[in-house]
Symmetry: C2
Subunit: 286 residues, 2 copies
Amino acid sequence: MNSYLDCIPCFFSQALRAARIATNDEATHKRILDRIAQMVKIISLEDSPPKVAGMIYRIIAEETNNPDPYKHIKRDFTRRALDLLPSLRKQVLSSDEPMMTAIRYAITGNIIDFGPTESFNMEKALDNALLMKFGICDYETFREHALRSKKTLYIGDNAGETVFDRLLIEQLDSDVTYAVRNNPVINDATIEDAREAGLDEAATIMSSGCDAPGIILEECSRDFRDEFESADLVIAKGQGNYESLSDVTRPMFFLLKAKCAIIARDLGITNGDIVLKGINAQQRMV
Amino acid sequence: MNSYLDCIPCFFSQALRAARIATNDEATHKRILDRIAQMVKIISLEDSPPKVAGMIYRIIAEETNNPDPYKHIKRDFTRRALDLLPSLRKQVLSSDEPMMTAIRYAITGNIIDFGPTESFNMEKALDNALLMKFGICDYETFREHALRSKKTLYIGDNAGETVFDRLLIEQLDSDVTYAVRNNPVINDATIEDAREAGLDEAATIMSSGCDAPGIILEECSRDFRDEFESADLVIAKGQGNYESLSDVTRPMFFLLKAKCAIIARDLGITNGDIVLKGINAQQRMV
């Protein structure tokens, strides 16, 4: 997905929010906005929003000398999510359609996103998870691909959300590789964050090799690209992964909650809807 | 009121919205954002938001060769407001406290603002006008000043809102000068817009001499500043006039609806509240 002009004000809002989390020094906040302003002229709208966001968050890390401003926030959400895991797992296992229930919790976890949104309530969202409205739901196709897959690549998004991804991983009868960001960016999960969430008990954790809050394939490691090409099933969580991978030609599935009007328009849904969308994925009649 | 760093993303959003109203050409929209980005480094946070906004809307007018993008929108709102005027006037005259009812309608008209807000429903807001919550209500002080004033300066804000201002002007037993912007900026009223709203039947219309969407006193005409100094009572409508005049030392009254979190914080109220705020204005016990 390309960037839109509407993303430009949003880049400034996001940067200011992150800058304030990284430091209280207002002069530094202003310097960050000045540097982003200098970037505007060279931003190509051909680039996906995560590619631009990656550059912005590098500026924030440089100017604040704080490579991981969201560290404590990530840890807090992971712990709170882990507290909820046993009861949610019980809900999944006792439901009529465990895979669908796991998908709903995994998507609901995508609300833990400090990029586009200023505030959210994780616990309240989870209470509401089974009632949330799908804007797109390619469940039957997904289920068929999932049942056939022996080798799954699951591309994670935010720290804490990782815990809920595990519920879906547990529904897959497949070897799963769980890919995360190479370095801290916003509150996206890194290898360390995914380990804290216990993902290593359910999957093989790997870095994508990419620092952006998404998957810019040409910036990813050779190992990651091999996984991406050879997996039977690829699942990608969240807006950043959708924005950066929506134009690839291989079959894959996106699970996300739409948190901005631009991505909602791109997907043809209402902002706030949840999404399970397959691309290049045909359902085979059995 | 100073500008805040939070105003910077908002300047870009406002500019994009106005640029799209002025022209459909996306390359022009991008060029406008590029020019605003070049301004960021030289924006002084000591300047009030309307001062910066004035520069931004001048860029939009230059780049689009459209000095009055909101012309048709302004005319439309003025006509719709004029259609409602007789019935609202009846409401005012039959109410227990006509001045207070007129104030409520005048403030509600302040919703017609294409600066900070993307969408609003004027008719629905008017239906709700008598129930809206005051964050600040210095009514007794205002009423006392209003009853004593023989020479009132009323500083207008948006086109269409002008019509509802007339309801309050009709409650004043005073010569009223109604001041408007010198040139089109956003959907703020100019002399032509105020005449279309029939304000010349209730007041003497004058230009402030200032092109910004607010009152930058040093940019105003000598005539306006004389009025500002000599009036017994000064009423200023809307955020832009508050932002640019909140630090003056003369007594005056602001009537507005808070439409952004920053001004709400500055006023110590909740965003969305309505405000009747006196500054430097003592209530004299009679």
